[in-house]
């Protein structure tokens, strides 16, 4: 059948099972938008800023495991998407971005709202396309979804000139992609799997480092089986949080810069690290020359370029994590590792997560413990980047699979508002709490209007200390408390702000008010903001300085 380019985009998205699009229209993408009413299966959520659209698509994708989709127009629409695209690239989130481009004959002429968005996004996408003919749209979108959601997932951008949206051509959706050079790995080399099984068999002090890959490949059951069968304690990386229940006796917590001291110390003592779907990020390893000095390394990764990139693997296993664990599990013998499990229990007692001082001031750690209790550890927690993110990672007790969404690799402040929006759209029945800082929240709080418009009931726990808190912490520790440009003097009244949007708002200044305020916000049928006025100069501990070693570990000063 003969369709316009815009219609072909819509038909193709429906073929890919897309239900929701986050975006903002503009000149170059307008022909596509004008076709949307003919496709009511495609729900479009009008955002307030394209960065919000990109983060919302990302949050949706992480919450559902499906590809998130965002639209933006040419020029500023496309450049505003960039932070969100880079976030999805760093954290391996399957997303497809469709941008309008100026008409074909205007490309390269510095036309109004022209930017070279395929050029700009080249290093921050898994792949991108400029589609110069309507006849290429269907196969390009097919490819884009396939590339985005196979192997190591990531963002794919499809840029379409305005006149291509109105060009008519025959539409037929291809059954398969034609990518002769792209072969996402499945199972690992059997010889290497046997070697890994042997290393596990020989290990006295093995540790699993469970990463985002567990969640992406839905290998929760396989992780659990491996841990329990051979009694191997499980560390979760920042993005691996909620891949393993933190109430489980083998759960050790998060390691690294702001991880639990006992987790970092366990890595120091371990004789075998089993990295599952993770990439030995510098926030975990610090100085790699001194990282896990006694350990051999099994590294299971779908992306071969991660093998030996930061840490040398004794047994590299390239493949889809779930598939590789299915290969490995039958070869792993039951073991008890009693002494080692006991040793880790001792480390937990010797190095507890800080016990916050009881003072008149409101302590963020208490708030997160209260939130954890009030939600039974089952809420979907979305955070921004900074102190509140680390406190949430440390003090919320995650019990439910895939219940933690955060900007890890890129560390993009402002993620907390739109990503929570997207996550709630993907999981309408979940209790979604956005744990936010007052800095990041103000970067994207314009999306409150989007929440209201679409009745998306995200709850915000605003950790308001009037500072760019993590930056202030570095100034405190490394720059002699010289608080340059980190103190806010003109923050709005966030309760009044909530009221201005017609949503619930409450301020909490004492510990006694915490639990009632959380319950009140959850009982409210729409979005809600709880403005927690926390101790202004509270620091996140433990801390290992950037590029440092375990010897530089700072625990809570007494």
């Amino acid at each position: 059948m003969m369709l316009t380019g815009g219609q072909i985009v819509c038909e193709s998205l429906i073929q890919e099972g897309v239900e929701v699009i986050f975006g903002i229209p503009g000149g170059a993408i307008l022909p596509l938008y004008q076709d949307l009413p003919d496709y009511p299966q495609l729900r479009h959520i009008l955002m307030r800023h394209e960065q919000g659209a990109a983060h919302a698509a990302d949050g949706y994708a992480r919450a559902t495991g499906r590809v998130g989709v965002a639209f933006g127009t040419s020029g500023p629409g496309a450049t505003n998407l960039v932070t969100g695209i880079a976030t999805a690239q760093m954290d391996s989130v399957p997303t497809v971005f469709i941008t309008g481009q100026v008409a074909r004959d205007a490309i390269g002429k510095d036309a109004f709202q022209e930017t070279d968005v395929t050029g700009i996004t080249l290093p921050i996408t898994k792949h991108n396309y400029l589609v110069m003919n309507a006849s290429e749209i269907a196969e390009t979108i097919k490819e884009a979804f396939y590339v985005a959601n196979t192997g190591r997932p990531g963002p794919v951008l499809v840029d379409i000139p305005k006149d291509v949206f109105v060009e008519r051509c025959e539409f037929e959706y291809p059954d398969e992609v034609n990518l002769p050079n792209y072969h996402p790995p499945t199972g690992a080399d059997p010889e290497m799997v046997r070697k890994a099984a042997r290393l596990i068999q020989e290990a006295k002090k093995p540790l699993i480092l469970a990463g985002h890959g567990i969640i992406i490949s839905r290998a929760y059951a396989e992780l659990m089986e491996l841990a329990e069968k051979a009694q191997i304690p499980v560390i979760t990386t920042l993005l691996g949080i909620s891949s393993f229940p933190e109430t489980h006796p083998l759960s050790v917590g998060m390691p690294g810069m702001h991880g639990m001291a006992h987790a970092s110390l366990a890595i120091e003592e371990a004789d075998l690290l089993i990295g599952l779907g993770m990439r030995f990020d510098d926030r975990i390893t610090g100085d790699t020359r001194y990282f896990a000095p006694k350990a051999k390394v099994i590294h299971v990764e779908v992306d071969p370029s991660e093998i030996h990139k930061n840490v040398r693997a004794t047994a590299p296993l390239v493949g889809d994590l779930k598939h590789v664990l299915e290969q490995l599990l039958p070869m792993v013998h039951p073991k008890s590792h009693e002494e080692w499990v006991q040793r880790i229990a001792e480390l937990k007692i010797e190095h507890p997560l800080m016990r916050p001082k009881v003072t008149g001031e409101l302590r963020p750690q208490h708030i997160l413990q209260a939130l954890s209790d009030a939600t039974k550890g089952e809420a979907l927690i979305v955070t921004g980047v900074g102190q509140h993110q680390m406190w949430a990672a440390q003090h919320y007790t995650f019990t439910k699979q895939n219940s933690w969404i955060t900007s890890g690799g890129l560390g993009a402040m402002g993620f907390e508002v739109p990503a929570a929006l997207g996550a709630q759209v993907g999981r309408p029945d979940a209790t979604v709490w956005s744990v936010a800082g007052d800095g990041g929240f103000q970067m994207t709080m314009s999306e409150l209007a989007t929440l209201v418009e679409n009745r998306i009931p995200v709850k915000f726990a605003l950790f308001n200390n009037g500072f760019l808190g993590m930056v202030r912490q570095w100034q405190d520790i490394f720059y002699d408390k010289s608080y340059v440009s980190t103190y806010y003097t003109g923050n709005p009244d966030f309760v009044k702000l909530a009221h201005a949007y017609g949503i619930h708002g409450a301020r909490v200044e004492t510990q006694d008010e915490v639990v009632p305020a959380i319950k009140e916000a959850m009982a409210y049928p729409g979005p809600a903001i709880v403005d927690f006025r926390i101790a202004q100069e509270e620091n996140v501990y433990p801390m290992i300085p950037a590029g440092g070693t375990i010897d530089q570990l700072m625990e809570e000063p007494v």
Binding site: P123, K126, P184, P304, S305, I307, H308, V318
Partner: protein, 174 residues
């Protein structure tokens, strides 16, 4: 050949922007390209590229893996020096006049190079060989005054008798 230089050959889809994708990846990952040559391959729609990169073994391994990650890149393999036929072509414009033209001709003959253009005050030498050959001819000609030079960078192929065991695999099919 200087130590720490490795030759990598890649087969890539001949699509708009493919060179940009590859050079962008090298720049972003802070890999050091010594030379890059690109042209049609034996297969329609595919180009073959030869890279000379500078770095230790771990760096070269990363270069190869990162190249393989690019969707438009079909096949990447390193070529070891022992199994390699490599050539480079250079055009060199040298100052010359009637009195020294014969001397230049003699040098050019020794290198099995050619004089491909003659003007009253200069000539153009075309030389093909491995980098050392090109370099040493250039050094000899520099005493006459080189006013312009262009080099293609290394192109390379695995020797016929070495093909089977030289295309060593790296972890992972992608």
């Amino acid at each position: 050949m200087a130590r720490n230089e490795s030759t990598i050959v890649a087969l890539v889809r001949d699509r708009p922007g493919v060179l940009n994708r590859i050079s962008s990846m090298f720049r972003r990952r802070n890999f050091n390209i010594v030379s890059l040559a690109v042209g049609q391959s034996e297969t329609a729609g595919m180009s073959r590229m030869a890279f000379v990169v500078n770095g230790d073994d771990a760096t070269v391994e990363q270069v190869i893996k990162q190249l393989r990650k690019l969707i438009d890149v079909a096949d990447v393999h390193p070529i070891t020096e022992r199994a390699m036929i490599s050539r480079e072509l250079a055009l060199i414009r040298v100052n010359s006049n009637a009195t020294n033209r014969g001397e230049i001709q003699q040098i050019v003959d020794i290198y099995r190079a050619n004089i491909v253009d003659v003007a009253p005050d200069s000539l153009i030498v075309e030389v093909t060989g491995d980098e050392d050959t090109v370099q040493s001819l250039k050094d000899l000609l520099s005493s006459f005054g080189i006013t312009e030079m262009i080099r293609t960078g290394r192109v390379a192929m695995v020797r016929g008798m070495a093909r089977n065991h030289e295309q060593r695999p790296l972890p992972g099919p992608m």
